[in-house]
């Protein structure tokens, strides 16, 4: 990177499990809430924003280019353009790194970026047979035509295709995301107990970090309905989680000998994050003080059926680009899509053989010490609103660096479809 991209401030909505307190808010409303809050906190003139970039995987059907809708509804002037980006699970990263790329090309100095996802509001779709029959019905003119078009429907036509399930299945390798995690568990001999222990630790760390998270959260006020409650905190963290409770859960993705359960996988969640990012020129223009900066990043591709190892590939590539080694990081975030997947990343990073065979290196990528990894828990406890997670990792890591007086963090994500992303952050 020619020039760092400064992160001035950021806020997020609470993360809430699918179908719970935020189910009534679509991705637009969640994104708008976070964006309006960060604009209020920073209190600079939003007309100075050069572009609004939000990540979203399940773009709401009623808000094509949801980023534009978020921008206008949050009070960003009409003259400021907006783009929605998707790199699946790393869409929240993509929003930030696109801002960096645009700034590097002289296409702006001040950006409102983030991610928004309402997995509660993923639609149910008609299957192909029903779509065909509805089309015939739409074309029918006479009573006879209409009657026969209606009579063509069969009960099976009304079985919906669930967009969420489709999204969580890799169309190339045909595996569900959970199945890719099972594959990694087998590859790296990660037992059910090891995965559950990691999950337990995620909950315990997130529970301990509740106060810290409040610093980055802005309340959501769901509209519609009579309930006047404000949603003020994450609801995925299970307080007092135990190994016994985790042990009782059934494997979801593989019936025979499976190890990945709802308890050691990330939760399906609603939430949004908004950040204000700027170049140095932007800081001068607004007079705002940054909390940190993006100093380098990389995306890398890998085998779709082992997409969970994406972070290792991305961190290796980032090292080539930036020179930063894992040992340079005070904090390391690997998004917890699955406990098995994070544990596999740790093992692969420490494996010299993996480094040689897959990363083109002479030695292992490096150790990932438990004391630096996901110190405030992760998506297993907080949930993984796919379009928003990347931006949350950046926000949470930067704030934690400040708390610890640390200098540098690397945050990474595995990406469905076989990719990884890694961002190097520094305090200012």
């Amino acid at each position: 990177m020619k020039e760092p991209l400064y992160i001035v401030d950021g806020v997020r909505t609470p993360f809430a499990k699918m179908g719970t307190s935020l189910a009534g808010c679509d991705a637009t409303e969640l994104g708008r809430t976070a964006a309006a809050a960060v604009l209020t906190r920073t209190a600079f003139d939003p007309a100075l924003i050069d572009e609004v970039i939000f990540g979203c995987v399940g773009n709401p059907a009623d808000a094509a280019n949801v980023s534009r809708v978020i921008a206008l509804r949050a009070g960003v002037p009409e003259s400021v353009p907006a783009i929605t980006v998707s790199r699946n699970c790393a869409s929240g990263f993509e929003a930030i790194t696109q801002a960096s790329d645009k700034a590097a090309n002289g296409r702006g100095d001040i950006f409102l970026v983030g991610g928004a996802e309402s997995m509660s509001n993923y639609p149910l779709l008609y299957n192909a047979s029903a779509v065909k029959k509805y089309a015939a019905l739409g074309k029918a003119r006479t009573f006879g035509q209409k009657a026969s078009a209606l009579l063509a429907f069969r009960p099976a036509d009304f079985a919906p295709r669930i967009a969420l399930m489709l999204g969580l299945t890799d169309p190339v390798c045909g595996l569900g995301m959970g199945q890719t995690a099972e594959l990694l568990a087998r590859d790296w001999q990660l037992t059910r107990v090891m995965q559950d222990q990691f999950a337990l630790q995620s909950h315990q760390r997130a529970e301990a970090a509740r106060e810290k998270f409040q610093e980055e959260i802005t309340a959501v006020y769901p509209r519609g309905g009579r309930d006047t409650a404000a949603v003020v905190s994450d609801n995925g963290v299970r307080e007092g989680q135990t190994m016994e409770a985790l042990g009782k859960l059934k494997a979801v993705f593989e019936k025979r000998g499976g190890t990945v359960t709802a308890g050691n996988a990330s939760q399906i969640t609603d939430g949004a994050v908004a950040l204000i990012v700027m170049t140095e020129a932007g800081l001068k223009q607004t007079g705002l003080k940054p909390i940190g900066k993006l100093v380098g990043f990389a995306y890398a591709g890998c085998e779709p059926s082992r997409m969970g190892l994406g972070p290792v590939y991305a961190m290796a590539k980032a090292e080539k680009l930036t020179g930063f080694k894992l040992a340079d990081a005070d904090l390391i975030e690997i998004n917890e899509a699955f406990a098995a997947q994070v544990l596999a990343c740790r093992a692969a990073a420490a494996s010299a053989e993996f480094g040689r065979r897959h990363l083109g290196r002479d030695a292992a990528l490096g150790e990932i010490p438990e004391g630096k990894l996901n110190v405030n828990g992760g998506a297993i406890a907080l949930g993984h609103p796919v379009g928003a997670s990347g931006a949350r990792l950046v926000l949470t890591a930067l704030r934690e660096l400040h708390r610890r007086g640390g200098k540098r963090a690397v945050v990474s994500l595995c990406i469905g479809g076989g990719q990884g992303g890694a961002l190097w952050l520094e305090t200012v």
């Binding site: 209020t40 209190a43 309340a219």
Partner: protein, 701 residues
Amino acid sequence: MNISLTFGDAGIARLTFDRPNSSANLFDIATLEELDAHLATLESRRDLRGVVLVSTKAKIFIAGADLNSFTKNFTPEGLGQTVDLGHRIFTRLEQLPIPSVAAINGVCLGGGCELALACDWRVASLDKSTKIGLPETQLGILPAWGGSVRLPRLIGLPAALGIILAGKQLAAIPAQKAGLVDELAQPEYLLAAAEKFLARGKRPAPAPKGLFNSALARPLVAMKAKRDVLAKTQGHYPAPLQALKVCRAAYGRPLAEGLALERAAFLELAKTPACRSLMGIFFLQERAKKLKVPGVDGTGIKVRSLAVVGAGVMGAGIAQWSAARGYPVLLKDIAPEMLAKGLKAAEKIFRDAAKRRIFTEAEATAGLDRITPVATAVSLARVDLVIEAAVEKLELKQKIFRQLEQQAGSQTVLATNTSALSIDAIASGLADPGRVVGIHFFNPVHRMQLVEIVRGPRTSPAALDTALQFVKAIGKLPVLVKDSPGFLVNRILLPYMVESVRLFNEGCGIQQLDRLMLDFGMPMGPLRLSDEVGLDVAQHVALDLQQRLPQPVPINDTLEKMIARGWLGKKSGQGFYVFGPKKGAKEKPNGELGFLQTAGKGAGQDAATLLDRMVLVMINEAARCLEEGVVAAPEDVDFGMIFGTGWAPFRGGPLRHADTLGASEIVRRLERLATEVAPYFAPCERLRAMAHAQATFYPAT
């Protein structure tokens, strides 16, 4: 030149209304005479296919008659001539040999609507500004340039009564549905659409209008309309009843007879005090819209965004109203739970308005989006105006203002929505107390048009001007008041509410008292009003006034005892009345209040005395307000009471009513009450002096 006549190449003439140096087109005598001359020209030409009537004003076709010019000659002769002139000219337009069409874009009311009704065809623009109707009954008169005759002919008796009796204004689409206009068009295509109608020639005589217009059904229709009017007006407003009579009698009769009926009724109505009062209110409203304070105008800043501190009923209401008018609003409170309640309240107002088609759903959402809730300390540097609407506690408000001084920019005007506390006391801890001003909204904010702008002794011109311009910009009507206990409206209203409680104490019935004041013309009885306001709030304000006014009306412990039982009025379900859980259910008097009553003086007094005790106490206080310079003029008092409390509009407000009674009569009655009931009825100096000098508050007309 108010109207120009031009000729297009296809034989189409155009009458263009464009009143010079004015944003509105209005009818005055000169304009009518110009129209007459143009009509003569049109009659003389043989080469024309038709004429289009059109306005050049952006949002106005013709706003109606110029009341200013007509009220100058408010004699039966003058008014009769004006009516005759309009009748003759509009009939001349109707009887032109060529077809005519009104191309209506924007406001088309009163005389403007009657002009359009005299055309063969009407085409309306789909622009939002288009409003067509006959609001005359709201001014105590009836449509008297043919509207009472031509509208029923055009759209049938029931539909016409619906418009005329309520003074309704219809948007383009409802106007077409009602049959009031023949076609709709986007504003850009309005002229083309209008010209097309000329090919149809003169309008054929109207066909009979179905069952409800038959001679048999007419008495039924009229009876129902009368019942509706009486239910709404309590019989205080003669205009709708007269209009009903004329519309019914003229229906089916020759034009000339109908117009004669209309004329007679108009002259009759113009003589009534109600008409005078309602016209007066119209002018008071115009006066408020143009309110300027000498030495202050132009010193303030233009508000682009604001912050509201406190998300209670008032804060949420202010935020909602401002956001609905396009202002970004930061809504601040100490906890998300409070903000959640405030946002829900604002959302409800927006959703209800959307249901009533005041906003589209998208506009309601956008309005709500403009309110950003904050529960943390944020910079208010980019905010031009802060309106504090927190709990009525001086220390708390002082603390808030000290914080605001830190958070806000140096130009930011700091306003308080206090209804009782002193502006100067609130501002006292600040480095610059001059930036503090009172902007006192009334509850519910989205319904009450009045806003008291309170000028503290140290309030700067810039702060005052900013507040005044903002209040006008959001479409509220300002009254400027001095920083004094209760300001204007509460100062006058509270003694009346307190007196009604005392009368109840003395053995009068709850409904008896409320009925008395409803019959007087108040929109709600005083005890029912206490329930609505909340007994705790009423008691709080009354106590405050008692402490701070030199001559307060003393209060007793009745409300205190009720509050102790948890009876707070409507909000707790029980007060002087019991409110059922079902929405819209009629409340019943609270049967458990007997223990608060003793057989006192009130029980034995006749209705006139009871009425005097409640009404004269207000007039006395209103006169004191004038005496102390709380407001500058009697107009301010009447305007404030009518728009802030709905004070019997047809009586013109407490001071107009005082003039009707006469100062010496008021003083006589107050003195009698002072000896027979209690000393606090003693008339104030101003009233005594006026009685002595045979003076009136308003100059005699």
